[in-house]
Every structure is written in C-alpha cells, then in structure tokens.
C-alpha cells in the first residue's frame, strides 16, 4: 500500500432529528481497495457524500494527499481527483450514453459554443475500449437495462481519471459476470495506484476485492482491519454489536394456527422472486433484510399498490384477485407506509377526519350526509383506546408528534375493521419513548387476533417484536426463523446470502 490519499477525522453531520455521523473516521491509501461496511443507516453513504462534496460536514477535518481541504461542491471534489458512483442511479435518461458520461465536460468546437458530437462519441468509445465495456455511445440511456445504466455510471466516474474512486453499492444491480468484470477493472485501477472505496452489503465480496475493511455503526467509527486477517462472522458482529433494549422481549402468547393470509409464488421481474409465506391469526411476522432486498416491494404487491407478474394471494384460504389497494382493503388488508406523512395521513386535516378516512361510507347517512356525531364518537374512542396525545380530535395531524401520527394511522385502519395490518418501518422517525408505546400497541393488536406483518430495518426491533422472521435478499426469501432461533448474526447471514452462495 502506498501513501495516504485521504484522511477524514472526527467528521460529524446532523440532519433534523438524526445524528448521521458522530466523530466518524476514514483513511484511504494509494493502491488499496478499502471496503466500508455497516448496517442500514450506519452512515457509510453519508460519510462518502461528505468526501465527494455533496454534503458539508458540521465538524471534522479532511486531508487529501496531506493537505487539509474544504470540499463544498461536487465539482471541487472532482477537481481534487475524487469521484463517486452513487447508490441510486444519477443519469439523464433522455440523453445518450456518451452525453451522460461527459456532461459538463463536453468537447467543443470553434469558439467553444458548438458541441463536438463526433469527438464526444469518439472519446466515449475510447473509454469503453480501455475498460472493455461494450456499450453504444449513441444509445439513449432510458432504453438501457439497469445493469447497463450502472455501467454508464461506472464509466462516467472512471472517465475522470481520479486518484480516489468511491463506489456506493455498485454491484447491487449487476449479474455475477458483470461483477467479475467490474472487479477486474477495479484491480486494474488499484495496480495503477488509485485508491478505491467500496461500499457493499454483499459481505462475501469483501474477501474477493478488498484489502482493508472499515466498520461503521450508528454514525460512528468502529474499527479498521486487514481483510485477510478477519472472518465474515467477525465483521458481522462488529456491524451489529449493540443492544438497544434493556427490557426483555415480551411477546404475546403463541399465535394460533389459523392461516389468515397466504402468498404463493409471487413474482415480479427481478424484484420479487418466487415469494411464498403464510400469516397466522394473532401473529407478528417480522420481515428483515437490507435496503433493496425487496421487502416493501412484496408487501406493496400484496396490497395491490404495485402489480405482480404471477402468484396467488389467499385470504382465509380463498384465492382472491388483488389489483388495486381498494381490493385489498375490501378483503381486510391495510398497509401502513413508512412514509406516513406522504402516504398515510391527510396532514392538513384533523384527527377525526383521518380516523374515518378509510371507512367514510360507514358514517354516511342519506343523501351522502356525514354523520358527524358518530365520526366524533369514533375518533374519541380511538384517542382514548390508543392513548393518542392530542389537545382534541379537531387538531390537524401535522401538529402531532411522529408517534401520535402513527397511532392515528393505526386508528384509521382499526376503524375500517382491518384484520391484516402491514407495517412498513413502523417506528421510523419516532423517538425512543414513543417507540415502546408503538410496540405495546402492536402486541395488543396481535393478542386481539389481528395478523401483523412488520417490515423493519432495525434488527433489535425485529428480534424483539416478531413471533416469526422472514429474511429477504435480492427479491427472494432466504430464510425463516422462529423467535427462539433468531439472533442478529443469523438474520444478517441470511440477509447477505446472495444467489451463488445459496446454491452452493
């Protein structure tokens, strides 16, 4: 390994309500591939966005090749030889491959006013030849498959001839052969003396490609180790090593065997692959997995918010057709989005209006007149029953705290007599105290006989709440664990179980 290229120390960054980075550290040497790992929300992407000029750190110092620098814009980072391949694709779909790669750096003719399209395509072609990528520079990006678009992003980042290349989950959308090709390119760059930061959730990749690994957790630096000297299990323990909950899990009694919802062989493209599961009366079924594992996609398909290619959905053993959310609601299925402000609540309307929103027909008299006496009584009933903290049922929901907003959404589905409740990240953005109230509420709902699916990216939450845990990876269910069997390490192992490994 060569000289220090990048040295980040004591980096802190806050967003409203979240300490994304808290004294984080990172270093990168010339000629190394340095993996950056951690759970969802550990701060890996945020740290690299600070390095590439997309975010400004609140505190901390960055040194590039020994000199202390300020990196305030993406352009400044590029000028220092730092380029990044983003996790989410950042391409202009209406432009061609070559136009995307050289955006902002177009070759010009004449007095610099005219674009030199020929030179542009020639440069792109030369770049592809150098990298052994087979792409047509003139193809429109929107017409390419996701993997090809990913290659465009990679080629764009490499075209800067940077000393520092950051890859934020570059392999998420690639097939195995494409990944091999990418790794060949990475090794080639490493030999040329570049430093490469590799963020990946696929832990088995670490051994293949990385020289060192830095582990982050909760926005903090945990440790940096030589990849050759540690095992994957050790790295997983470093990633998850914490216990948030002091109190012991208090699960309601074992659910009964009655199957309320069954999904058989659900498929959609590469996103949902042959997903089957059962949900019992009185059960809380946890769904674990990393970001992009397809958990939300499966549940949205079950709820009819997204289409599916094939598969069966049965409620109480009866096959039913769910093509729209209205179909799902009619069969007693409710979906509580993780983004409740956008999809769960009418924020400018009051608690009462929100509570009866999904079942207004039950409160409507002749001539479509709403029976306000009854809606008021129903709202009061839930405010009491769920302990919703609000000055009155006439309060606008946007003025409530996150936990109480979540309770209003729950009240809405209870009013609609929903038997199957799908919670997507039920405690996201809710403070610690309110979280345990939500947990209590979920337990109560289950013991009343409702069936609950809970998607969560917080492992301790999944382990504490679930009777049973499904673990997903890349659109497939890779494991099922009972509450007794489940540990953070086991869930993590299933969650990172890619296809090749699963087949082996």
């Amino acid at each position: 390994m060569g000289d220090l290229l990048v040295e980040m120390t004591d980096i802190s960054k806050s967003f409203p309500g979240v300490h994304a980075l808290d004294g984080a550290r990172f270093e990168l040497r010339a000629g190394e591939v340095h993996a950056l790992v951690g759970e969802n929300g550990a701060g890996k992407s945020t740290l690299m966005k600070v390095l590439s000029g997309i975010y400004r750190a609140d505190a901390g110092t960055i040194r590039v090749k020994g000199a202390e620098v300020e990196i305030n814009t993406p352009r400044a980072a590029q000028d220092m030889g730092i380029s990044i391949i983003h996790q989410e694709l950042n391409l202009m779909g209406h432009l061609t491959v070559a136009q995307n790669i050289f955006i902002g750096r177009e070759p010009r003719r004449g007095v610099g006013f005219w674009l030199d399209e020929k030179a542009l395509n020639r440069n792109a072609k030369a770049l592809f030849e150098e990298l052994h990528i087979h792409l047509d520079p003139r193809a429109r990006v929107s017409g390419l498959a996701v993997a090809q678009q990913q290659m465009v992003e990679i080629a764009k980042a490499l075209s800067f001839k940077s000393d520092v290349l950051i890859m934020d989950e570059p392999t998420a959308a690639l097939t195995d052969t494409e990944i091999d090709e990418l790794f060949r390119i990475i090794r080639h760059l490493r030999e040329g003396g570049a430093g490469i930061v590799h963020i990946s959730h696929r832990l088995e990749e670490l051994k293949q490609i990385s020289d060192r690994v830095t582990v982050m957790r909760d926005g903090r630096y945990i440790d940096t180790v030589n990849t050759a000297e540690v095992g994957i299990q050790e790295i997983i323990s470093m990633m998850v090593g914490r216990t948030i909950f002091e109190e012991a899990p208090e699960l309601p009694e074992v659910p009964n065997e009655e199957v309320v919802l069954e999904v058989r062989n659900l498929n959609r493209g590469r996103v949902i692959r042959d997903v089957s599961f059962q949900l019992h009366r009185g059960e809380i079924l946890g769904v674990a997995g990393l970001v992009g594992a397809g958990r939300t996609e499966v549940m949205r398909a079950v709820f009819g918010a997204d289409p599916h290619d094939s598969g069966e959905i049965l409620v109480h053993g009866e096959p039913i057709a769910i093509n729209t959310p209205a179909d799902a609601v009619a069969h007693g299925i409710g979906y509580l989005s993780e983004d409740r402000k956008r999809y769960g609540l009418a924020l400018k309307m009051d608690v009462e209006a929100n509570v009866v929103m999904a079942s207004l027909r039950k409160f409507t008299g002749s001539l479509g007149r709403i029976q306000f006496g009854r809606t008021h009584a129903k709202a009061l009933e839930h405010v009491d029953g769920l302990a919703i903290k609000t000055p009155s049922v006439g309060q606008r929901t946007k003025n409530l705290s996150g936990g109480n907003q979540q309770k209003v959404v729950i009240a809405k589905w209870l009013t609609a007599d929903t038997e199957i409740l799908i919670f997507d990240e039920p405690t996201r953005g809710i403070d610690v105290g309110a979280k345990s109230e939500i947990y209590k509420l979920l337990n109560e709902l289950a013991s009343q006989g409702r069936a609950i699916i809970m998607i969560s990216s917080e492992l301790p939450e999944i382990l504490r709440m679930s009777h049973r845990i499904l673990v997903m990876c890349e659109g497939r269910i890779t494991g099922e664990l009972t509450a007794a069997e489940a540990t953070q390490e086991r869930v993590m192992t299933f969650a990172t179980q890619r296809e090749a490994v699963a087949a082996a």
Binding site: I54, T73, P74, R75, Q78, H86, N90, L91, M92, G93, H94, L95, Q99, I103, G104, E106, R108, F113, W114, L115, E117, H132, I133, H134, L135, D136, R138, A139, R140, G143, L144, A145, A147, Q148, M151, K156, T177, E178, E181, L182
Partner: protein, 328 residues
C-alpha cells in the same frame, strides 16, 4: 461487459419511440388539416390564404420556440405574451419618442425581452420560486409596465415606414419577410438546442436536474440562460407583431402564452421535461393557425374556434400520455 444486445435494442427503440413519433403524428395532422380545409373550402385553397397562414404563424411560432426551451427544462413561462407586448412598447418609445434609428430600436426590443427572461430565470433558479408562479407574476408585471410606459395608448410607427417594409415587405415570392425571419429564427433555435452546450443542458435539466448538478454543472446559471433565451425570442416576436400592426398595442399579448405553450406541446414537447424539438413546435404553431383560419373561413363563429382549439390541445396531450403509458 456482456451488454451489446441491449445497446442495439435501445438504438432501435429510441428511433421508434419518444418525441420523433409525436413529431410525425403532428406533421400528419397538419397535412390532413390543410387537405381537409382545401377540399371543403374554395376561398381556403388560394395562394393568398396560404400566405396568410404563414404570416399568422410567424408571431406565435417565434414565441413558441422560446417557450420550447423552457418547457424542455421542465419549467413553464406564462409571461411570454405580455413580455412580447412590453418589448414592442419599449421599441416604440425608443424609435418614436426618443427618435433613435431602427438599428437601435430593434436591439432594444430584443434586450428588453432578454432582460425580462433573465429576471424570470433568476427568480426561479436563485430564489427557488416555482416557474408557474414567478412567470405568472411577471405576466402581470410586464402587462402593467407596457401600459404605464405607453400611457395605455397605441404607439404608431408612422415615422419609420422602413420598419414595416423590413418585416412585411415581399421581395421574395410574394411572401412577407416575417415568414423568412421565423424560419431563420427556427434554424438558429434548432441549432442551439441540438448542437450547443446551452441546448445540451436544457435537455439535461429537464431529464434529471439533480444528476446534472451532481455532475458539476452550474445548474442555476444555465437555467437563467434558458429563460433569457425564451425572453429574447419574446422580444423578436415583439418586433414581428409591431411590424404587422405597424404599431405597439399595449393591450394585446394576454393569451398569446397559451397558444405558444399549446404549439410546443402539440409538437411533442413534454411538459414533464427532457423531450422536445423546434421542428415539432413549428408544426404545432402551423396546426393552430391553420385551424384558426380554416374555421373562420368556413364560417365557424369565433367562440367555437376557442372551444375547438382547446379540445385539440387537450387531445394532443392525452394522445401523448397514452403513448407514453404504453411504452412504460
């Protein structure tokens, strides 16, 4: 990597889809419209009438070219109609009241337009005011200023007959110069849109503004440049309409922005940004003027012309949405 097949497929699909289809559809619709009116109406199929369609298209066509730039970025400019009038008034004041020659008056009109556009762009890019609101406000401001500056009275270009001659004279084929000016402006706009950095960033902004910003492009500056370009074209339209009326009429201009936006949209420019062409916009402008003149020659009352034009715009956008959904 093993991705060659996809690349060739995408090449095919980019030829067979996107704005090129809408452009061909628009061209086909124009041909059918012209043929239809020519068959059913004798006064329609006269050389004079065809020329009057060309002339009628000039002002809206030029306005619509500028608006096309803005719409491709995903924005909108509601102020172009009244800005056009404002520019005519500015030119009228410079030429008739201040007594400057035409070669100062014409650039003054263009500069006034570019200035209004720059203000629009700055409000949108820097102050982050939504384009709809910023330009709605500017529509009112330029309309008011045009009336204040002119004291709500028309300014006649009687002292400069060469102005009328320059635009409405017919030295070539009996067609007024204004028509050639429109086509010239179209060629320039088309070259700028497809061959220059301004055009490239116009598409990039509408396609994915955040990605463009992350690529290190100074997004604010280019956005301002796009609105300034739109204003410049409104200024040019101002000189055209001034010559046609041989006066600056401070009360006209309202409603022109809708025809301009309609022309762009009929011609395949996507209101969600990222797609559009000057060629399509010109076709769209011709469709509107052919329809207007055709309907009035065949005796359809003005009120019904408005209804029919509105239906055509809605129909064109709906067709576009249907086509997009099928692709998606």
């Amino acid at each position: 990597m093993a991705v060659t097949t996809g690349a060739t497929k995408s090449r095919l699909s980019s030829v067979a889809s996107g704005d090129s289809v809408q452009r061909l559809l628009a061209l086909g619709a124009l041909v059918i419209l012209l043929a239809f009116f020519s068959v059913i109406s004798t006064p329609f199929r006269t050389t004079d009438n065809y020329i009057s369609i060309l002339v009628a298209t000039a002002v809206n066509g030029v306005l619509a070219m500028g608006v096309t730039f803005v719409i491709i970025t995903g924005g909108i400019d509601l102020s172009v109609g009244t800005t056009m009038t404002f520019c005519t008034v500015v030119m009228g004041l410079v030429v008739t009241q201040a007594g400057f020659p035409l070669w100062i008056g014409l650039p003054a009109a263009l500069a006034a337009g570019a200035l209004v556009g720059t203000v629009n762009g700055t409000l949108i890019a820097k102050a982050k005011i939504p384009p709809f609101i910023a330009t709605l406000g500017m529509m009112s401001i330029t309309r008011g200023l045009a009336q204040v500056l002119s004291d709500v009275k028309p300014i006649y270009f009687e002292g400069t007959p060469e102005f009328y001659e320059l635009f409405m004279g017919k030295p070539l084929l009996g067609i007024p110069n204004a028509v050639f000016i429109m086509f010239g402006a179209a060629i320039i706009a088309s070259l700028v849109l497809t061959k220059t950095t301004l055009g490239r960033y116009t598409f990039a902004l509408g396609s994915n503004e955040e990605a463009t910003r992350l690529s290190g492009v100074n997004v604010d500056r280019w956005k301002i440049a796009v609105y300034a370009t739109c204003g410049l074209y409104a200024g040019l339209a101002g000189t055209l309409i001034g010559a046609r009326m041989n006066s600056a009429q401070p009360s006209v201009g309202m409603g022109y922005e809708l025809d301009a936006i309609a022309a762009a949209v009929i011609g395949g420019t996507s209101l969600s940004g990222g797609e559009g062409s000057i060629f399509g916009t010109i076709i769209g402008a011709f469709i509107i003027s052919t329809l207007t003149i055709g309907l009035s020659i065949t005796g359809v009352p003005d009120q019904w012309k408005l209804v029919i034009t509105g239906l055509v715009v809605i129909g064109a956008v709906w067709l576009d949405i249907l086509r997009r959904n099928r692709r998606a």
